[in-house]
Symmetry: C3
Subunit: 339 residues, 3 copies
Amino acid sequence: MLLTVLTVQINNSEKGVINMTKTSSEQKRCSILNSMVDNIYRPEIPGIVDLVVNSCSDRGCFDHLEAAVIPSREALIEIIDLIKDILFPGYFGDQTVDKNTLPYHLGNEITELFSKLSEQITNSIIHECNRHDEECTECIDRGHEETLRFLKKIPEIRSMLASDIIATYEGDPAAKNYDEIIFSYPGIFAMTVYRSAHELHKQGISIIPRIMTEYAHSVVGIDIHPGANIGKGFFIDHGTGVVIGETCEIGDNVRIYQGVTLGSLSFPKDETGKLIRDKKRHPTIENDVVIYSNATILGGDTVIGARTVIGGNVWITKSVPPDTKVVIEEPRLIFKEKK
Amino acid sequence: MLLTVLTVQINNSEKGVINMTKTSSEQKRCSILNSMVDNIYRPEIPGIVDLVVNSCSDRGCFDHLEAAVIPSREALIEIIDLIKDILFPGYFGDQTVDKNTLPYHLGNEITELFSKLSEQITNSIIHECNRHDEECTECIDRGHEETLRFLKKIPEIRSMLASDIIATYEGDPAAKNYDEIIFSYPGIFAMTVYRSAHELHKQGISIIPRIMTEYAHSVVGIDIHPGANIGKGFFIDHGTGVVIGETCEIGDNVRIYQGVTLGSLSFPKDETGKLIRDKKRHPTIENDVVIYSNATILGGDTVIGARTVIGGNVWITKSVPPDTKVVIEEPRLIFKEKK
Amino acid sequence: MLLTVLTVQINNSEKGVINMTKTSSEQKRCSILNSMVDNIYRPEIPGIVDLVVNSCSDRGCFDHLEAAVIPSREALIEIIDLIKDILFPGYFGDQTVDKNTLPYHLGNEITELFSKLSEQITNSIIHECNRHDEECTECIDRGHEETLRFLKKIPEIRSMLASDIIATYEGDPAAKNYDEIIFSYPGIFAMTVYRSAHELHKQGISIIPRIMTEYAHSVVGIDIHPGANIGKGFFIDHGTGVVIGETCEIGDNVRIYQGVTLGSLSFPKDETGKLIRDKKRHPTIENDVVIYSNATILGGDTVIGARTVIGGNVWITKSVPPDTKVVIEEPRLIFKEKK
């Protein structure tokens, strides 16, 4: 009834033609018209909802209605912000902290981290039990215990990151000082998230480490799987497009540039044709290696020996001895004078 | 008058020298000083505003004052979040939904999507009319009708995405389970946005599909033009740097890796020297093709035949027959022992 | 005391086994249990806080407790949003502005920018003084003066960006109109941030320009150092993975594609083995050059002459004369028919 009236009104207003005028009062009118027209079309919505709900029962739909609890990406982003602030006090977040108030500041932040992280870890444990149709034995206790285990590693994570920051300063002439590096270098952000996620991964926590590193990937374009092992003093410059696979083993003081892939060569399948998921598929990089931009190193048996330098654009699928420099034979360029 | 007093105060405080002290009370003083000094310099602002306003009248300035309404990027990001939640119920957003409450949950979300999306689509239609100096005939009605058309496609979009998720699990040994893929894989986010934007693009909606896919590009580094056609079971691994051009035709069960470009070879111009904008410029990829990292395939006449495998770093500008494996001749590497 | 009671309750509830049930009431119970268990483990937190605080006194920890004030990344992101809205009125933010209200709109925005930016610039000056253990002479005044200097450059920055937008339209057949470019092209966002940061960099402001361009890098994957010099009409297509180094000199009407690196060849060190930080290390690109995707051009003495075209994947470490076309010799591809 009301709808009919509205329809008539609209059809009467300039015969259904809305002339695009440019004043604010016209804009307001457009907005009112818009919500009136909304009401005319709304009766179609229930049919569409039915369609969507019904379509959700076949295989062509992934829902998450069976499980009670799952980790939340938003909560994990808050957790990463907290970790950053605890690892680098005074740089991010509340910047008025000083030496005297540091214990209170860290006390608050660590307590908050404990609450938030234990909830997410508990959820991930329950989610995992559920997925395997197992009974969840003392999941909440285990969630809290794993959180405490992680918190105790903070000094070690911070010390590893300090080595990364020093390596960055020593490796990049564009870096003016440590503060600039901590504030703005994408590689340091990626390593902060990776080094935290890696510890959780080692504790056997599922899903959470991967959501964390994929968040870092989305922020800085550097994709490090939390399963990779990376030594101290790791420096990634620029970083966009870097991929470091799950089973990489990387030594100390390694430096890599944008677009470097440390990937797998091929995926072995078992006799039933299914992918084998737990084999070393990615390369080993020994201490003090430098890998320049867009180089690709593939394969689980490939070892790059200590102190070796891999040039830009190099494509390697076999091992390289220590103390070697590998460069691509400069591709023959064709110089054509333009007409 | 007040300003003079303040100036004197500042000049009196340590003769214009602000010694960098480290206590919070000093910090507070700095902050107060800062806003006092603000007032001293504010009289210069009106002159700058005039300068900026006046400079806006020449060609060296793009403003959007002529048009009444335009799509809003922020609103479209909210719309993408809604679509994600409708497509994968229980994964994102409110996670307490269960089978019994699913209809109400989806009912609410679809109603909200209807309101928000119809406003944006209407704005894009009005914007387009305006740009061509056309009268806007029944724009608001058309905006709502196009929104309903889109909503009815949700089951189909969801089914296509389910095939992408299954292809991802089957293609990546690092994927532990479907949940990890839905939560964290950048390729799935890119495809969720692309598959939705592509439907709007097919309906002839302007600007919105492109804003949507560029948002996904900024989040995950995967740049898929909404005009491309992509079959089911598409798997993008890692994804950073992937570019899929506007006129690509991609079959079913295709798999691509980071840094792959499916691009154009050159841009034909018409007789007046202007770019021709509607020709097929990008390649065709048939069913079951695999394209490894950083390969580049260019040109509108280039066809990669079914089941062919394109190796990493390959650069292709001509067609390749089906059932072929193309690899780069391994570039000769120069191994130098370092002194 | 209370804790003991809670423990007993939990242990009594199904013998420490939490069965993963799927109803909301169970979920609520889980959540209550979770916060009860929290209280049991909390006594461990003070020990961890001590551990973290104490570990912060050695070298393996970067804190920022010494300095009073530092630029804030969050504030700089707000500043970038303001700048965008001032440079392109009516496109972003409040879209109801028209010709009559433009002066008020810009007046408000510029005043807000003045306050926010002067605070950040002042902080960066104080931070810099502090870092060098210098007395901070009239830092707050200098902060405001530098802000006014920057604001006066807005018309020039806008005019440069207009030339970039026109170059983008003329260079990309997928671009349908200027609005689409301003709304959605990642290259335009990167250039908006770069051109603003570059002016601040020229004024000698530290840290802020780098935080700004690294923010743009994280949003669009395009890494332009604020120290680079880039002429008018610069067009970056797709852009993911682009790296433009600190000492690049780029002429007018240059066009580059995704994955292009304009980088340094090697880092000269001084006699003490330290990196020399202020030498030209990156190439010079003259007017009207086009550089296709994933090309790499390295070295401070490398000059690419005017109107030259550099093909995709080319790797260049030496100068190229004007009016030349450089393409990679197409790598020999190996075609293997699959069994």
